[in-house]
């Protein structure tokens, strides 16, 4: 059974867990994800693998509490076991020595872009990393990202740390300043990735996004995660999770992400209430 070995709240409502998973740790590559369940009645949710240690057999996941499953996960403690953990799922990022590349992480997307950034630098790239969040407290993994990149740029929506502005503005500046950016990776909330695609379009740079679609099995069996890319239907779980952002049908993707909005609220509210009663 996958056991939680360390748990840290690295920002308000953002939790980092290290979980024992020797088989996953052995094979995982940057860009891949896992699906977990907290208990037998739980939902299967996908989370990107933020880090891993092949030798010691653990993987790290970072998540924000946004619904019932993430809330339940946040209440689990070191020593607790997950009901289910499967992976590594999806295709790895295509890591190679391209020259100069840019990686962008927004919010918990920072954790997703971290292993890709590190691998790109290890492969010999000059990696300019941009990370951003709403406010200073929500900037995560700053030190890890600094080490993993050649240059780290930070921004906050409210200007409470380093500078004020969205990651898309910083990305625009970098692309204006840099002559020869070969590839850009952007991972974060869907509206941010969509906006970043609009920014990069005029520069004709290859733009990669990692899509956080709704999944059930995560192995290509159900098609819950389907998305239109370049006019063709793709499954995020087996064809992705990375796609050329300029070809993604963003309105459709965002509509599909909101499919269970009402049910998610219905499921989360009683949970929040009972948790509040227990802990308040």
């Amino acid at each position: 059974m996958p056991k939680i070995i360390t748990k840290r709240e690295i920002a308000p409502n953002i939790i980092s867990l290290k979980v024992t998973a020797p088989l996953i740790a052995k094979r995982v590559k940057p860009g891949q994800f896992i699906i977990l369940m907290t208990d037998e009645r739980g939902e299967r949710i996908p989370l990107t693998i933020a880090d891993y240690d092949r030798e010691n057999g653990w993987i790290r996941i970072v998540f924000q509490v946004v619904g019932k499953t993430t809330a339940q996960l946040s209440q689990m403690n070191e020593g607790d076991e997950l009901f289910s953990l499967v992976g590594p799922l999806g295709n790895p990022s295509k890591i190679s020595n391209y020259g100069t590349v840019v990686t962008v992480g927004g919010g918990t997307g920072i954790a997703c872009v971290y292993p890709i950034t590190r691998a790109l630098k290890e492969a010999g790239n000059r990696v300019i990393a941009i990370i951003g969040a709403k406010t200073k407290d929500l900037i995560i993994m700053e030190e890890e990202m600094r080490k993993a990149s050649s240059e780290l740029l930070i921004t906050t929506d409210d200007g409470s740390y380093v500078r004020k502005g969205f990651v898309t503005e910083v990305l625009d500046e970098v692309l204006r300043r840099e002559e020869d950016v070969k590839k850009v990776w952007v991972i974060g909330p869907a509206p941010m990735m969509k906006a970043a695609c609009e920014v990069t379009k005029p520069y004709q740079v290859e733009m990669i996004v990692s899509l956080n679609a709704i999944m059930v099995d995560g192995t290509g069996m159900c098609g819950s995660c389907r998305v239109t890319v370049g006019g063709e239907t793709k499954f995020v779980c087996v064809d992705g999770p990375e796609f050329n952002g300029h070809l993604v049908d963003w309105p459709e993707f965002m509509n599909r992400l909101a499919r269970y909005g009402r049910q998610e609220k219905l499921s989360f509210e009683p949970h929040e209430k009972s948790y509040g009663e227990k802990n308040g």
Binding site: E43, G223, F235
Partner: protein
Amino acid sequence: MADMIPVPERMKMSQRPMPEQDPKKRTRNFDEVPLGYKKGDAIYEAQRCLQCDPPPCVGGCPAEIHIPQFIRKIVEEDFASAYLEILKTNNLPAMCGRVCPQEEQCQRVCVYNKMGKPITIGRLERFVSDWARKQDTKEKLPEIKKKRKLVAVVGSGPAGLTCAADLAKMGYDVTIFEALHKPGGVLTYGIPEFRLPKRIVESEVDKIKELGVKVVTDFVVGLTKGVDELGEEFDAIFLANGAGAPQFMHIPGENLNDVYSANEFLTRSNLMKAYKFPEFDTPIKVGKKVVVIGAGNVAMDAARTALRLGAKEVRVVYRRTKEEAPARVEEIAHAEEEGIVFDFLTLPVRILGDEKGNVTGMECIKMQLGEPDESGRRKPLPIEGSNFIMQVDMVVNAIGTTANPIVARSATSVQTNKRGYFMVDEKTRATSREGIFAGGDITRGSATVISAIGDGKKAARAIDSYLSSGGSLRKKTPT
């Protein structure tokens, strides 16, 4: 003990019907629809059996069940022996008794079939296995010497479970690898509770575990470990990972929010128990007016699930006629009794939606039957200008599945055909790579539980003869 009734009188007896839940009530619950024979029903039905020698029914059964023998035991009211007789060749009797298309297999060749009243072999199999489960009848296996040979089975559906159980009974050390968090494959994620209660799947899987079979869940062969790597740890491998990937029609509007694949819709409801939301966390949506595309068993399961989840109207559209519908006659009848409306000779051409992604309707075209096509069925042809809009707010696509490539990608030298299915020797289920065998839907496309069971049995025999003659994957490196 009931006496044997003289043959002429036996032949005059009529077929015993099985009681079912009232259609009006059952569309509001997920309980099983057919209620099963009572003891008296089973004995009566068993008494009709002519005990043919040789028995044609056995030839019609891919699981090779000793049918006349077990039926004879029912007549003798020795249900434990009847159960053990079935178990000699079939490890999944409670499932087969429920979901096998007996009308196309054993019952089709029953001598009574000409009179339109074949022995209801499936119902008897179900009665016996349900009785045994309640009594907790255990199989007494002869002491067998454990063989120090390891076999990996990929997938815990009917093919994998059968192969694993047969090999375990021969003394092999068998490990099943299952991608999902629960074993059973399509029996768990695909077939709904009202047709195959999950406690029955669990109980049959538990029995197979008692034979010594290890079941590793949350293990995606191809991702967690590849087939090639398993080949370094196991002496033989049986690939039974299922057909997997849902097919779509490639018509406009297919990715609107309330368009489900049948796989997603059924997996949410069956595996994740979304029909019990919010008691279980996985959500599911159901429209007021639901349309299911396709007329196979999966389409019937999806349509009947939608009804039970609260849809006001459920329609099934199919481009051919009822004659060509691939679903079991019984399943179509059950769906009709429950009020599901069938639109035959109808082909969807476009799904309509609003800017938020909600489904607002489906455009269809009427079809007519032309000349027979390569499948021997008359080809449906569109009637020009017959387009119309069907008022629906949810669509479930149940037109079939294609091969999921994850397993095949990790299996060097195991050949697939152009549709991605493993190519096998029909008799031995051997693939192009020595020591690797395959069966079930990943070798034949969407088929039946019973054909998968048949494949599992054949593969188990072939694996035994491969290993007994000194074969082992572990000694070989893929070329």
